[in-house]
């Protein structure tokens, strides 16, 4: 027989097989000393529970960040005798058998699971009803003195006051966030910070909350939630998407009008100001229960993937199919959460198309917002690389790439291959970003906001962006290239965005205009090789230095360029002269109707 203490532990942890349970039962009945030992150990088991939940949750080491590094604690190895270890090894030898038995026990049908849940729910109702009736009897009976009733009620109050769960405790972590703004300072401000149970009001942005049991919630502002426990969140207003893994089955999203009990699915819940509420199931099955209490519900509907359950302001439930439009709209929901660069600076291969380098564990696609926001990761010594392997269906793609957003300096290097983004921001919102282009082809397909270098310094530190163009091709297919910009209404005391383009080779073609120093930002173009071609040119605050290479503008821009040269906004090195030539026939090989600016040899 296995050591009874091992069996008792397995019994407490609810992982005892039927055979082991029978052994333990036999041992308890064998002699009174055994029952006494069981009583002591089970008392210790219950005390552990009561003590742990009474402690200040802040003292708990559940979260790694708060783990104590105290070495003076109980040393398990020295506290366990050789005999204990032998007994444990005996148990471990039997473990495979136990696991098989456990699997057998787990093979119960979904109908049986449902039936048991219903039975449990009815049992809870019955007990509550019993307490309610008892109170009524105590209040109304002519035979029971009023004083006894008062004693009873006060006594029950005392019992109810005994803490059964901690007032507040940590149950989840903020794992992703974009444009984050909470209504309370109590809510986590940064990724990696933890959520206590209680109310959280999301005023702006989208967040991903990962519960310790693995359930994930994507919450979109404006929303008000109350995290009630590890397994339940109440959505008072707003919209959330819930992804529940097998380990977190039974996760509950309650709302003022209904509750959703999850059976391992992906589903979305939305609560409107009017009190109307709907749930959409994308995968698996949920139980949609009328009434805010998931245990004491009035009606329930089982919803499967592709269905929407709704409750209108009159409390009427309807169930229908999700339309194609609605499905597509929700499919983009997850994509609005940014994918952050996650690789460490000591990595040898910081390749863009390595899924391990991204926080979401997936390579960004054309719908993804990409952020490089850490300090010095990726670093100058170990930048994020887009190389020759990023080609065809492996090309680097993203909706928006932010190199150095409120962080940095961040380095990205393109040594070959292809990349296609809607927008590229290098050094944004007080961040510092540096991109180096050696070779390859980069296409930017967005509208006005296509390529911003050094933009919107809103804090004490200026946003600084640098593009070192040594080779390859960049095509801004629709919008502008803005070198140095700030927000239109920059608050007093804010820093300004500074953008620098150092061009030594390759070509940049901008369908829109080249804009230097937008809204008091400052831009510099140092042209010492290659060709840069733009649909137009505006210099509000900046400078163009031309020492080598060609600067080409669409149409006849001779007057504009000559004025800028006269104003010293377009310059060349000392003792050199800049030549401005309008090529209507295309004899210089850059096409017809172009103005070419270059240093005279």
């Amino acid at each position: 027989m296995i050591d009874p203490q091992v069996l008792i532990s397995a019994y407490f942890d609810r992982i005892l097989s039927k055979k082991q349970a029978a052994e333990l039962e036999k041992w308890i009945k064998e002699k009174p000393e055994n029952a006494r030992l069981f009583a002591r150990l089970s008392f210790m088991h219950r005390c552990l529970r009561d003590t742990m939940i009474k402690n200040d949750p802040d003292k708990f080491s559940f979260q790694t960040s708060r783990m104590a590094s105290d070495d003076s604690g109980i040393n398990l190895e020295t506290m366990i005798t050789d005999e204990d270890l032998k007994l444990l090894m005996d148990y471990e030898k039997e473990a495979p058998e136990y696991m098989e038995e456990l699997e057998e026990e787990d093979k119960i049908s979904p109908e049986e699971v449902e039936r048991r849940k219903l039975e449990r729910s009815l049992e809870l109702r019955r007990r509550k009803e019993e307490i309610r009736k008892y109170r009524q009897i105590q209040n109304h009976s002519l035979y029971v003195p009023v004083a006894t009733a008062v004693i009873c009620l006060l006594f029950i109050v005392i019992i109810l006051l005994i803490p059964r769960t901690p007032a507040t405790t940590y149950v989840a972590t903020l794992t992703e966030a974009t444009e984050l703004k909470w209504g309370s300072s109590e809510s986590p401000k940064k990724i990696g910070f933890d959520f206590k149970t209680g109310a959280h009001n999301l005023l702006q942005g989208i967040v991903k909350i990962t519960f310790y049991n693995g359930a994930e919630i994507f919450l979109e502002a404006p929303s008000e939630i109350n995290i009630k426990s590890l397994t339940e969140v109440h959505l008072a207003k707003g919209k959330l998407l819930c992804k529940v893994s097998k380990d977190a089955i039974g996760f509950i999203v309650s709302t003022p009008e209904a509750s959703v009990v999850d059976y391992g699915t992906n589903f979305g819940v939305e609560v409107l100001e009017t009190g109307e509420m709907e749930v959409r199931v994308f995968e698996g099955t949920v139980d949609f229960r009328k009434g805010p209490n998931p245990l004491l519900f009035e009606k329930s509907h089982k919803l499967v993937a592709g269905q929407i359950g709704q409750i209108n302001e009159k409390g009427i439930i309807t169930v229908r199919k999700i339309s194609q439009d609605e499905a597509e709209k929700d499919n983009t929901y997850l994509d609005r959460i940014p994918n952050y660069w996650a690789a460490g600076s000591n990595k040898q291969q910081n390749l863009w198309n390595d899924s391990k380098n991204w926080t979401k564990g997936i390579i960004p696609d054309s719908t993804t917002i990409v952020r490089f926001s850490k300090v010095n990761i990726p670093s100058e010594q170990s930048p994020c690389i887009i190389d020759a392997n990023h080609i065809g269906n492996k090309k680097a793609t993203a909706k928006r790439v932010n190199i150095g957003l409120k962080g940095g300096p961040i380095y990205l290097k393109m040594t070959g291959g292809e990349a296609k983004f809607e927008e590229l921001w290098i050094g944004r919102n007080d961040g510092i970003g540096i991109m180096t282009m050696e070779s390859g082809k980069l296409e930017l397909t967005g509208g006005h906001n296509s390529l911003y270098i050094g933009s919107m310094g809103i804090g004490a530190t200026a946003a600084k962006g640098t593009l070192n163009m040594n080779g390859g091709n960049i095509s801004v297919l629709q919008g502008d290239l803005v070198l140095g910009s700030s927000a239109p209404k920059t608050p007093p005391g804010s820093s300004l965005g500074t953008g620098t383009l150092n061009m030594q080779g390759g070509s940049i073609k901008i369908r829109g205009k080249l804009f230097l120093g937008e809204n008091k930002g400052h831009g510099t173009l140092n042209l010492s090789g290659g060709t840069i071609e733009a649909g137009g040119l505006t210099i509000e605050n900046g400078l163009i230095n031309i020492n080598k290479g060609n600067f080409i503008l669409e149409g006849n821009a001779e007057d504009l360029v000559n004025k800028l040269i006269k104003d010293d906004l377009i310059k060349s090195s000392a003792n050199s002269t800049l030549k401005v030539f309008y090529d209507s026939e295309g004899i210089k090989g850059f096409g017809k109707n172009k103005t070419i600016i270059y240093k005279e040899k």
Binding site: R36, M52, V150, I156, Y212
Partner: protein, 178 residues
């Protein structure tokens, strides 16, 4: 409330405050689920109020309260499938007997445990918190910690053994049986 009732309430409250940890532990030892045990504890408390007039004050209160809890579990809970017990009636009777014999040392065990918990180190403390604070099963702890169910179980068991030995040291000769 008259003076006699007030006195009665005070008396009952004092008795219950002392007995509650032992009764809660006994119920938990038989039903295992903490939430379910707390629900039953409330029903037992109601029952104790009802029957307090029948309590013989010349006898200790805790065994009497455990007797009521035992009756409540065996008569009510075991009738439903949801509340099906692992042990048969005889074993539950034996466990109740064990509690009735041992209750006098429980207060000392609790105090010693308060001290010993503080000495738990990182991993064992983390797993104990997950198990007891959040009532997570070993399979869920295993998935959260990236461990196997077996290694979580072994860590839990080793931690309980370590706590037991620490309590023994604290109690000295009083804790001989442990």
């Amino acid at each position: 409330m008259d003076e006699q009732s007030e006195k009665k309430m005070e008396e009952l409250t004092v008795y219950w405050m002392k007995a509650q940890p032992a009764v809660a532990a006994f119920i938990t030892s038989v039903v295992r689920n903490f939430q379910q045990a707390d629900d039953i504890l409330q029903l037992v408390a109601v029952e104790i109020v009802k029957k307090f007039d029948q309590y013989d004050k010349s006898r200790p209160f805790i065994p009497w309260a455990i007797g009521i809890a035992k009756y409540k579990i065996l008569s009510d809970l075991s009738k439903t499938r949801a509340g099906k017990l692992i042990f048969d009636t005889e074993a539950v009777e034996e466990i109740a007997g064990g509690y009735e014999s041992e209750y006098e040392i429980f207060d000392d065990i609790r105090k010693a445990l308060d001290y010993c918990i503080q000495k738990l180190k990182n991993k064992s403390r983390q797993i104990i918190e997950m198990r007891y604070c959040y009532d997570l099963k070993p399979s869920k702890i295993a998935s959260y910690m990236g461990m196997t169910v077996n290694s979580v179980f072994v860590t839990l068991h080793r931690t309980r053994l370590a706590l037991r030995k620490c309590i023994e040291q604290q109690l000295g000769a009083k804790g001989e049986l442990l």
